[in-house]
Each structure stands twice: as structure tokens, then as C-alpha cells.
């Protein structure tokens, strides 16, 4: 678990010698505090707390890491924060109650799920114009754009579908029915596979992007935890293609899945209601936001052990990391 002091000192001095690692940070949105917590990834401590709009949930970095986009759900806007100054420099017309979004590889088009309006709004982050509004299922939530930029996939919680949007025409091309209450979608690095979590269904569907068909469905079982509490939400895939990590919500565990064989390898105990996750830039750690316990757990990816939990604000929701 905790490294002894002399090992910590060694690690710390090694990290201090490398300026890139020293500067690495994580930003965590605190849904109930209307703030972002800044975590220094070298010391794994909170170094700053920044006030933002109301009910910040989904957060995402611009491709050049100079800006942070924040879904301020109750302010009905997507805020743009300049990361050098930590000031809000723009409010994008996101439509009502934005929850999750995804930035197109062109670094301009932002695809935003509007939970209350059953819409996906496409906003140009430079001209601040709404480019399109696409009708999707009821309670849209998860959003992902494929690495090649061709697809924007949205999940609608009540309709239990994945909606495939062509990013050229902004037309809804296809729907894939998954288990109840799909929450989050995540493309593999090569864009060939899409992982979709179903919160109430308790499953994760692995979908072949070419055919848009489900090719594998994962279920989870944790000793001593009632199956109803196992509610998959966030999904993250390691860069080396080895693991998929699935946040299991009120089960307070993160499932480790072999991304090739789809076998569940382990369940790691983290804080209460684990929601979303992000890798550190060097992929050494995976950070998880734990809503109810108000902290961020740090998972050592190689050892598959939780090494620390860091107290942040109330109801941490989203997390991003940068060098």
C-alpha cells in the first residue's frame, strides 16, 4: 500500500528531476461544490480549488491542452477555461443541462449531450456557434467521437440505445440497442471497438464499430456485494491495449478487464459511488472520482493496486490529466 518514507523520498527526487512529471496535474469537477480541484500528480495532493459554473460534471481538454471545457449543467452552458490563468474565457451555447461531451479530433467541434432536451448539440468552439442539433433518444448522456473523427456516438439512458451520428452530415445513421441505462461510451485507440456501459443492466457491451453490432457482453460479480449495486458507469482503456477499467458506481469497486479476452481479472476497492476515470499522462496511475465519499482514488496500473485516496470537493464527477 503506502511506500516507506525513504522510497517516497527517492521517488520524489526522481520526479523533481523531471520537469514534465513535476508539472503533471489532474483537474476534477466537483458537482455539488461548483468547483474544480487541482491535484499535483507528483505529490498526489490537492494544490488548488477553482470556482466554476453551477453543477460542473463532464470536463475535457482541448487537443493542445491549453483550454479546459466544463459542462456547467445548472448554468446551462459549457465553460471554456484558460489553463494558464485558470480564468473562464468563454461560455459556449451548449443547450440545456449539458452533462457529457466529446471534442472532435479537428479540435473545433464539440458534441454535447443535452440530458433534458433529448438532443445532441454540436458547437464550434472557436466561432461559438451552434452547428447542429440532432434529435436522439430520451435522456442523452454518454458522448464519444471516434479517433478518426467519423462517428459521434451518444447514449440515451431511457431509450437504452447508442445513437450513431455521422459527423460529416450530422445525421443519425443507426442505433444499437444495449442493456438498460447506457451511461458512457469509449472507443478503443484504433477506433475498431466501442465499449458501452449500462448502469441498470449491470453490463458492459463491446461493440464492433464496422458492423455496429454487439460482439461481447461483460457481466460483473463481486463477493459480498448485492448485484443491484453493481452499476457500470465510466470505462477507460489502457494505451497499451491490455486492460479495460470499468467503474462500478455504488459497488465502490473498479473492475479490471483483460481488453483482449474480455475476462474480468480483478475488482479494486475504491471510494463510494465511483463514477469516471482518467489515466495519468504516463499511464502509471488511473484516477477515479468517487462521488459520495468525495475523493479521488489512485490506482497503480502495473500493480493493479489502489495506492491512495485523495479528498477533493463534494461529489467529484469528471477528471482529466495533463503534463
Amino acid at each position: 500500500m503506502r511506500k516507506p518514507p525513504f522510497v517516497q523520498t527517492l521517488l520524489l527526487s526522481a520526479l523533481l528531476a523531471s520537469p514534465a512529471a513535476h508539472a503533471a496535474k489532474a483537474y476534477v469537477s466537483n458537482e455539488k461544490d461548483n468547483t474544480l480541484s487541482v491535484i499535483d500528480l507528483a505529490s498526489l495532493t490537492v494544490t488548488d480549488t477553482i470556482d466554476v459554473g453551477e453543477r460542473p460534471r463532464g470536463i475535457a481538454l482541448s487537443k493542445d491542452h491549453s483550454k479546459l471545457f466544463i459542462c456547467a449543467s445548472d448554468s446551462d452552458t459549457v465553460q471554456v477555461m484558460d489553463l494558464a490563468t485558470h480564468r473562464i474565457i468563454a461560455n459556449l451555447p451548449s443547450g440545456e443541462d449539458p452533462e457529457q461531451f466529446s471534442l472532435h479530433p479537428d479540435n473545433r467541434r464539440l458534441y454535447i449531450a443535452n440530458e433534458d432536451d433529448a438532443l445532441v448539440t454540436v458547437v464550434d468552439t472557436e466561432s461559438h456557434e451552434v452547428l447542429a442539433q440532432i434529435e436522439v433518444g430520451v435522456e442523452p448522456e454518454g458522448m464519444a467521437v471516434s479517433p478518426d473523427g467519423r462517428w459521434a456516438v451518444n447514449t440515451s439512458e431511457t431509450t437504452s440505445m447508442l445513437h450513431w451520428i455521422d459527423t460529416e452530415t450530422h445525421q443519425l445513421i443507426d442505433n444499437t440497442l444495449v442493456d438498460q441505462r447506457p451511461r458512457h461510451v469509449e472507443f478503443s485507440r484504433d477506433g475498431a471497438v466501442l465499449w458501452a456501459s449500462s448502469e441498470i443492466g449491470g453490463t458492459v457491451s463491446v461493440i464492433d464499430v464496422a458492423s455496429r453490432e454487439i460482439m461481447q457482453k461483460l457481466t460483473f460479480k463481486i463477493r459480498g456485494i448485492h448485484p443491484d449495486k453493481i452499476q457500470p458507469v465510466g470505462v477507460k482503456l489502457s494505451a497499451d491495449g491490455r486492460y479495460a477499467f470499468v467503474a462500478l458506481g455504488p459497488a465502490n469497486h473498479v473492475a479490471v478487464v483483460d481488453a483482449k479476452t474480455y475476462e474480468v481479472l480483478d475488482y479494486l476497492l475504491v471510494g463510494s459511488r465511483v463514477w469516471h476515470m482518467e489515466f495519468t499522462p504516463d499511464q502509471q496511475y488511473l484516477l477515479t472520482t468517487n462521488g459520495v465519499s468525495g475523493d479521488v482514488s489512485v490506482i497503480d496500473v502495473d500493480a493493479l493496486k489502489v495506492v491512495k485516496s485523495i479528498k477533493v470537493g463534494r461529489y467529484p464527477w469528471g477528471v482529466v490529466t495533463l503534463d
Partner: protein, 265 residues
């Protein structure tokens, strides 16, 4: 008296305790079975017992199994310490203690040798238990296996000293049941071995205070911190102090003035 004689006595007592230990192989296993049952069976039903809280020395959320491991290590030491007191009463009844005490060496040295022997044998059992813990995913850091050694040794000496102190006062083997009821169980249950003190406090303030004054609580916390390569100074001072006091009391208890069937002229 030559130093050599002291060492011969130490070696003799260590060998005797070792032989007794080897001959009673079931004792070794029963000493492991008891905490293992707690770890595997009892803890399984209490996975959610801790609630949501991170307490030092832990850096993150832990399973109940991980929480009770240090307490169960101390349980092994506690039962061994008390068992040694039982063996002292047995020795007294069988007359073999007289042979031991006939030695020209000071009794304090003989008792100290006995304490060391009990502690070393207990350590072997504790390490075997920690090893088995790895099989059920209770994995303290490897460095902790080293740093926990002095904490375990001090705890073993403290509990051994309490055992010796009691054995000086127990005249008959039958009275050992009383030791179980009035010493081992209260000491174990009124400590932080099974539940953290904050959890005790939630249910009862007086229970919390009783637990926080129990030296066994401090021994458990000393071992818990040491297992994660950290020092709990308060726990160290209380455990060390208790060990000193009870060693002195045990020595007094085995004072020739107090033994040999009453007063000696």
C-alpha cells in the same frame, strides 16, 4: 557468575520451549486456525462493517480482512502469552519449575529467558499467519514484514509478561478458565483489533474510553502502523511501558519471598 552460564541457561530454556513447541504440533496449527477462522469466516460477513472512512496508517479504502490482520496477529501473541502462563502453572504443579528455579542464576534472568523463548516462538506463528493472509488478498507492503518485527517482539514481550504475572498468582490449573474469561476475551474484544475506535465511539462513548485505555489496543495499533512501515509513538510508549511494568510485577511475583508455598524464612 560467568556470562557463559547465563547463555547456557538461555539456550536451555529456549531449547526446552522449542522442544515443547515441536512436540505439540497441534498447538502450532490451532494457534493458526483460530485467527484464520476470524480472517476467512468472520470477516467475510463483515465486509461492509467499516463504513466509509480512511484511517491512518491506511492511505485508501481497505477490506475488513485487511483491517483485522494486525489485530489477529496480536491475538496469536495474546493466546501464546496466556498459554505460557498456563504452562507455568503446569510446571509448578508437576514440579519441573522447582528444577528450573534451583538454578543459581537470578530468577529475573530465568524469567526473561522464558519471555524471550515465548516471544520467538510466537513470532514464527505470526509470520506464518501473515503469509497465509497473502492467500486471501491481504497484502501488506513487503517492507512492512521487516518493520513489523520489533513491534511484534515488543507486543509478545508485553503479553508474555502479563501471562507470567498472572501465572505467579494462579495456583491451580483449573483456574485458567478464569484467565480466559477475565483477561483474554475482554482484552481482545475491548480493543481496536476488530473495529476501529471511531466505530466504537459511534455506539458508546464509555466503550470507546475503555478501549482506548486498553494496552492491547495500543499493541494492535503499534503492529498496524509498523506493518505499513510507520511509527505510532503513543502506541510504542504505552506498549513499552506496559511491558516494563508487567515484567517488573512478574519478577516480583516469582520472588522467592512470595513462592515456595508461601513465606520463606
Amino acid at each position: 557468575m560467568q556470562l557463559n552460564a547465563y547463555l547456557i541457561a538461555l539456550k536451555g530454556i529456549l531449547t526446552r520451549e522449542f522442544l515443547r513447541f515441536v512436540q505439540q504440533r497441534t498447538r502450532f496449527f490451532s494457534a493458526l486456525v483460530r485467527p484464520l477462522l476470524w480472517l476467512v469466516v468472520f470477516a467475510a460477513g463483515f465486509r461492509a462493517a467499516l463504513g466509509v472512512s480512511i484511517i491512518p496508517p491506511y492511505q485508501t479504502y481497505i477490506t475488513y480482512e485487511t483491517y483485522i490482520l494486525p489485530g489477529l496477529c496480536c491475538m496469536i501473541l495474546l493466546f501464546n502469552g496466556m498459554q505460557s502462563s498456563l504452562s507455568m502453572v503446569y510446571d509448578r504443579e508437576m514440579g519441573s519449575m522447582k528444577v528450573l528455579l534451583m538454578s543459581p542464576l537470578p530468577r529475573s534472568w530465568l524469567l526473561l529467558c522464558k519471555l524471550i523463548a515465548i516471544a520467538l516462538l510466537s513470532l514464527a506463528q505470526v509470520y506464518a499467519f501473515i503469509g497465509l493472509g497473502f492467500l486471501v488478498d491481504v497484502e501488506p507492503p513487503l517492507i512492512g514484514l521487516l518493520t513489523v518485527l520489533p513491534a511484534l517482539l515488543l507486543t509478545a514481550v508485553m503479553l508474555g509478561a502479563i501471562g507470567l504475572f498472572l501465572s505467579a498468582r494462579i495456583r491451580q490449573l483449573e483456574n485458567f478458565a478464569g484467565v480466559m474469561n477475565f483477561v483474554i476475551f475482554p482484552m481482545f474484544f475491548l480493543s481496536s483489533a476488530l473495529y476501529p475506535l471511531w466505530k466504537m465511539r459511534e455506539s458508546s462513548e464509555w466503550l470507546y474510553w475503555v478501549c482506548s485505555f486498553n494496552p492491547f489496543t495500543h499493541a494492535v495499533e503499534l503492529v498496524r502502523f509498523a506493518l505499513y512501515a510507520e511509527l505510532n509513538l503513543t502506541a510504542l510508549l504505552v506498549t513499552g511501558g506496559t511491558a516494563l511494568v508487567f515484567t517488573a510485577l512478574a519478577l516480583l511475583g516469582f520472588n522467592p519471598e512470595q513462592t515456595a508455598g508461601g513465606k520463606r524464612r
